[in-house]
Every structure is written in C-alpha cells, then in structure tokens.
Amino acid sequence: MEKGEEEKEVIPTGAKILAIVMIPTIAALNYVGGVIVELTKAPIWGDTWATILGTLISGFWVGAIGGFLYNIIMALTLWGLPAWVWGTANIVIAFITWGCMKLGWTDLKKPIKLIIPCIIFGFIYPIYTTAISIFIFGGGPLYKPLPAAVYAAVLASTENFWLANYVQNLVTEIPDKIISFIISLIIVSRIPKKFILVRQRS
C-alpha cells in the first residue's frame, strides 16, 4: 500500500447480502408464477405467492420490497403506470404474512391455526383491493368471465357498485390468496434451513 492511501476494512455482510439478492428473485418468481398459471390453467392469479414466500423465509422487508418491485417492473412494462399501486397490495400481503408468522399462525402441522390467516386473506384483504380497483381502475368487471358474471349478478340484484366490486374480488382473491398462502407454507417446509433468514416462532 502506498503512503497516503487509507486502508478500508470490508466486512462480508452474509445474511444481508443474501436478503438483497432475494429481492429480485422474489420479484421474478412472482412473475413466473403468473406464467405457470397460464401453463397449468390454475384458477388463481399466481403472482403474489412469492411475496408470501419471501416474507416467510427472509422477513417482512424482503417480501414487501420484492413484491413491490415486481409491480414496479410490471407498471413500467406491461401493465402501465397505474399498476404500481398494486405494489402497495403486495406490501399489505407481506404485512399480513409477517403478522401471522409472528403470531404462530403459519404452521402446517396445526391446520386449525391456518383458519384465521385464510379469513384475513380471503375476506379482509379484498377490501383493500376493492378500493384500488374502484379508485384507480374504475371498478368495472374483470376480463375473466366468472368474476364478470358474478359482478353483473350482484350489481343487477343490489345496484350497489361497491358491493359488486367487493364480491367480484372475493371470487378471485379467496382462491388465489388462500392457495398462494398454503403453497408458500408447503414450499417453506421443504426448503433447506440454510435459506431461512428469518427467525421463526418455535
């Protein structure tokens, strides 16, 4: 080392660098989830399961940022600017998952405890997505035939625009989020422990 040069100590960051690398992986896995749904014709959206997975294995921030990043990429490419708002929905999903994890409601061996997360994902979370679909996307029917039919039926029978949107969202979110949650729990149970960066409740 030459005179005058300052020596800097570089400390490998271990878990921190793994968490940073996890973020784009989660974003990409969310995207590929959508592609696999296309291949398998599964009755879900399939593009938020990696947010749940990321939160379960790397904590709230990694899951939330990974999910948000996915929506930012989609907003800048295929979905258009307003779609970035769905990124906040991914943060909500990460928050619900993190809360359930902290409360010990993510144990596949205790299925009774999974009921509350399923209710939160199935019925409470759609309130948030309903608000987004109305204020940002106009609250019309979805382009999928079944939710659109449910939307038309509820609107015809109640004339309540909000309720029609909420019920339409229930039709899509109940299967999607519950299946995504359970699938993520199954995957986490099969992942080698070295990848789990977050402290699990014992």
């Binding site: 800097k8 570089v10 400390i11 490998p12 960051t13 660098i17 940073i20 690398v21 996890m22 784009p24 992986t25 974003a27 990409a28 896995l29 995207y31 590929v32 989830g33 959508g34 592609v35 696999i36 749904v37 296309e38 291949l39 398998t40 014709k41 599964a42 009755p43 879900i44 593009d47 399961w49 990696a50 997975l53 990043l69 990429i73 800048l76 490419t77 295929l78 979905w79 258009g80 600017l81 307003p82 779609a83 204020f135 996307f137 106009g138 609250g139 019309g140 029917p141 979805l142 382009y143 609107l155 015809a156 004339e159 309540n160 625009f161 299946i179 699938i183 199954i186 995957i187 990848f195």
Partner: protein
C-alpha cells in the same frame, strides 16, 4: 397475465435504429409519466382515444406497432368487451337511454353513462400500457440502468431492478424446462381445478428450490465484486440529451399548454361532456 405479456417481457427490447430508439430514456420516461397522468385527468373517451392514437403513431415511428397493437388487443379489448355491455345496462348512475334491445322477449335498455364508463376506463389503461411499452421496448437495458443512476435511486434498488429484469427471462425458460420435464413424466393438463392447482405446485417447488440455490451463488459473485464495499458506486454507461429529445420536450410543452387551456375552459370532459360521479376521482 396473458401469453402476450410473457412473450413481451421475454423478448425485451427491439433493437432498431429509429428516432424513438435514439431518444434519451429520460425523455421517453417523462413522456410515459406525462401522458399517463393526462389520461387520468380527462374523463373523455374521444380525447383518450386521441392520446392512444398519438402513441400508436410513435409506435409506428419506433417500428414496434405489432407489439403495441397486440397488447391493446389482448388487454384492452376483452376488458372493453365485458365492461361496455355490463355497465351500459347495470351502471348505478345510468340515466340517459341510448337504445333498447329485445332478447327472448325481454326489453334490455342500454344507457350512455355506463357505456361511457366502460369505454373510458379501458382506454385510460390502454394509454398507460402502450406508453409504458413504448418506453420499455425501445430502451436498451444498459440505458435503463443509467437512467436509474441519473434519477439518483439507491444503488441496491438499482441492482434489484436490473437483476429482476434479467432473472425474469431466465426463470421463464427454466419454468419451461421443468414443465417439459413434468410432461414427459406424464403430467396431465386436461384435468379438473384441484389437479390444476396441484400441477402449479409441482412446477413451482423445483423452480423455487433451484432459484434459492442460485441466490447463494449470486450473493458470492456480488461480494467478490465488492458489492458491500464502502465506496461510491459508479455507472459504466452514460446518457445524454440529443436534438430529438429537445424536439420531444418542445412538443410536450406545447401539448401541455393546450391541454391546460382545454381543461380550464371546457373541463375534464371537453368533447363528450360526461358527468363527474362520486367514485370517478
């Protein structure tokens, strides 16, 4: 997500020597933000259609018309095809009768308010999607990273963004390989709903495990290049404004003045004169 969506992100940028490709990514990004915001400010399907036509003209100049039209055909048109008839009949704020159709002896009335709502919102989203594609499909990934540097975003976010856009096509290919492998092992696709969910799971599990293994390799590779080193990070690419960018800026400035004038004098629905509803924002 539609298959067109998949193919668009997989193929990424279309390399051509057009004026749109030569423009600075900041200019195209500004245009994308600018026109998306205007699409939301006005609630007028004729004006929104004019915005869409403007973007299509730019897509012709940029030689990406086919991709833009495909995205409109796959995302906007089906949405409109469902939204227009349903809302024309059932929209709660319907009041202006356009015509009645007789189906199986039933007189079904179609109203203007719902028709306009079902038409305007998909068009708005159409403007946002096509302008985003115009930016994305004509911007080199290296220039995109340079743009994020110029915007002074955190280095770790830039890495995450760049890595995610690189990872997506790789993982899509890998998912294809796993799918083919499972097909050759007898995976059936013509099955019921429960089995389809199971198929989703058996494709996702190997993909996730493989991705997580690569996370460690990527982390080691990053550290070996001093990713966590406490030094100022620099970008090897530089972007500069050219004459075409200044022409764009002048065009945007003139159009902004015109639209501010139109909004101030004629309101948010200057051509078709729609009403503002409680939820319309």
């Amino acid at each position: 997500m539609s298959s067109i969506g998949t193919s668009l992100l997989r193929r990424s940028i279309i390399v051509k020597e057009t004026l749109i490709h030569k423009a600075d990514p900041r200019t195209k990004f500004l245009f994308f933000l600018w026109i998306s915001i205007w699409a939301y400010i006005f609630y007028d399907y004729v004006l929104t259609t004019i915005f869409l036509i403007g973007i299509i003209i730019l897509a012709i100049i940029g030689k990406i018309l086919k991709r833009i039209l495909l995205s409109v055909a796959v995302i906007v048109l089906p949405w409109m095809a469902l939204g227009v008839p349903i809302l024309s009949v059932l929209f709660p704020w319907n009041s202006t009768l356009m015509y009645k159709i007789e189906i199986f002896g039933w007189q079904i009335p179609f109203y203007y308010e719902g028709f306009a709502w079902g038409l305007t919102w998909p068009l708005r989203i159409g403007v946002c999607i096509t302008s985003a594609l115009l930016f994305y499909l004509t911007t080199n990934p290296a220039n995109l990273i340079a743009l994020l540097f110029k915007l002074k975003l955190p280095f770790r976010f830039i890495y995450a963004f760049a890595a995610a856009t690189q990872l997506i096509p790789l993982l899509v290919d890998e998912a294809g390989t796993i799918y083919q492998a499972q097909l050759s092992r007898g995976l059936r696709t013509d099955v019921g709903i429960i089995k389809r969910i199971w198929n989703f799971l058996i494709l996702i599990v190997p993909l996730t495990l493989s991705s997580l293994t690569k996370v460690q390799i990527r982390a080691i590779a990053l550290e070996s290049r001093g990713f966590s080193a406490p030094v100022i990070k620099t970008c090897p690419y530089d972007i500069r404004f050219k004459n075409i960018d200044y022409v764009f800026f002048i065009g945007i400035a003139i159009a902004t003045l015109i639209m501010v004038y139109v909004y101030t004098v004629y309101g948010f629905s200057p051509i078709v004169h729609l009403k503002q509803y409680f939820i319309s924002g």
